[in-house]
Symmetry: C2
Subunit: 238 residues, 2 copies
DNA sequence: TAGTTTATCTTGTATATACAAGTTTGATGT
DNA sequence: ACATCAAACTTGTATATACAAGATAAACTA
């Protein structure tokens, strides 16, 4: 009764190459195997290989040069919060830990929610969770996440510690973030935030509000986050 | 002796559809003609049409739905490039003014530039300019821009006041920003910034450093900006 | 009528092939 | 030794075709 999901060849090529770049088998400036080499490797044709390579180029892993080849791009560093490419940051995963302050719970949207909601969305309610991220055991980023309430089997009980919410949504529910918008402020930490991030109330923090569309119709992800950028910074690529 | 550039079919499809979306022939939510219809229209095959459509999807003009069609997206402000918005909904362009503190000048890159430069780039030097943006005559955002020094005829003498640098680069030099990355901090304003933005040195400001790739090989645009987000916020779509 | 199936749309994945055009390298000829 | 040219790479554009799979509406059945 196993799912027996059809794994598409071009997706396998993407995953393989992505992994090898992230592992460091291919470093910045290296040339990937040529399209024809990859064709032989995967026993397929150039159209399929090119589909994978152009996706990788779009995700920012490589740049392509006519007559030359596929050149591995600079690895992205920083707290890659926003990267749509799914690059889990250049900050070593071992240094970045996440603790859940509020496990996912179904609830109504807060009053005066920070982005306007359409009717269906407002009626459906949301799944709320909050997390605190640490780097080297120091709290750095506090994030509140609101997901439109649709049926996500076993979602509330999933272990979100030290794992990317986006990866879980992708792997288990095939939900992928497609586009979004964000608003950015610099603020003094208020009492709650200064407690959470263990800083003084005069300390400047980045405040961000984000709205993200997904590939699932009607399902949006909102988040509000506060970040102490004294020792680290927020980064994103577009 | 004209250039007689070969215009590729898939590029023509992209341009045609893009134009029709921008003109409003296709509005948000509309379905584009199906792939097969477009095949007949352009007397070509699906592979070529799909190449165009997937490019348009990547550019954010459409989203594609399996079994449904190509759906025209909400028009977006720019390509994920930072735009400034007011708390009170969108500020009209009339309220936003720009003054040039430093007209474009050719110079060497600063020492310890905030992004690593490759050899060619470092050798070429840069064009530097700085601008101060006001909302309702209050200074809100200070931005320093560095462009790789390539020949841009008459660029230094162009009037950049109240006009988008990106629009000028696009219209006059066909330079378009393709992708980029940005780093974000919250900081207390230092003396220079507090003077420029007319705020106290304890005031929190958003500091951003951005690196942008263009469609011209070897031409990159860097910027470092400081923003007072008390009355306004920075906004960004991706 | 209401629910189900079927046909027919749509896009998604894939094979096989051809030639154009940019880049590099090595052979050739002076 | 050096410049030139040709061959052998690379990616870019394109045609033609096949079947899978999601979405939708018409036809069918209870």
């Amino acid at each position: 009764m196993s799912k027996k999901e059809v794994i598409h060849l071009y997706k396998k090529v993407i995953e393989d190459l992505k992994l090898q770049i992230e592992k460091g088998d291919f470093k910045k400036g290296d040339l990937l195997p040529s399209e024809n080499d990859l064709c032989k490797l995967y026993d397929t044709t150039r159209v399929t290989i090119r589909q994978a390579l152009s996706a990788l180029a779009n995700m920012g892993y490589i740049t392509r040069k006519h007559g030359k080849g596929s050149i591995v791009s600079e690895p992205k560093a920083g707290l890659g919060i926003l990267s749509l490419s799914g690059v889990t940051a250049g900050i070593g995963t071992q240094k970045l830990t996440t603790s859940i302050l509020q496990k996912p719970v179904k609830q109504a949207w807060p009053d005066n929610f920070f982005f306007p909601l359409d009717e269906e969305e407002a009626k459906a309610g949301c799944i709320f969770l909050s997390r605190l991220r640490h780097i080297d055991n120091m709290p750095v980023l506090y994030e509140e996440t609101y997901i439109t309430n649709i049926e996500l089997p076993r979602f509330s009980s999933r272990n979100l510690e030290n794992r990317s919410l986006f990866n879980i949504l992708k792997e288990h529910y095939k939900i992928e973030v497609k586009e979004g918008e964000q608003k950015i402020w610099a603020r003094h930490a208020d009492k709650a935030i200064s407690n959470l991030l263990q800083i003084k109330t005069t300390h400047p923090v980045v405040h961000m509000q984000r709205k993200m569309q997904t590939n699932v119709d009607g399902l949006r992800i909102y988040s509000s986050l506060y970040c102490n950028t004294e020792e680290n910074f927020l980064r994103d690529s577009f």
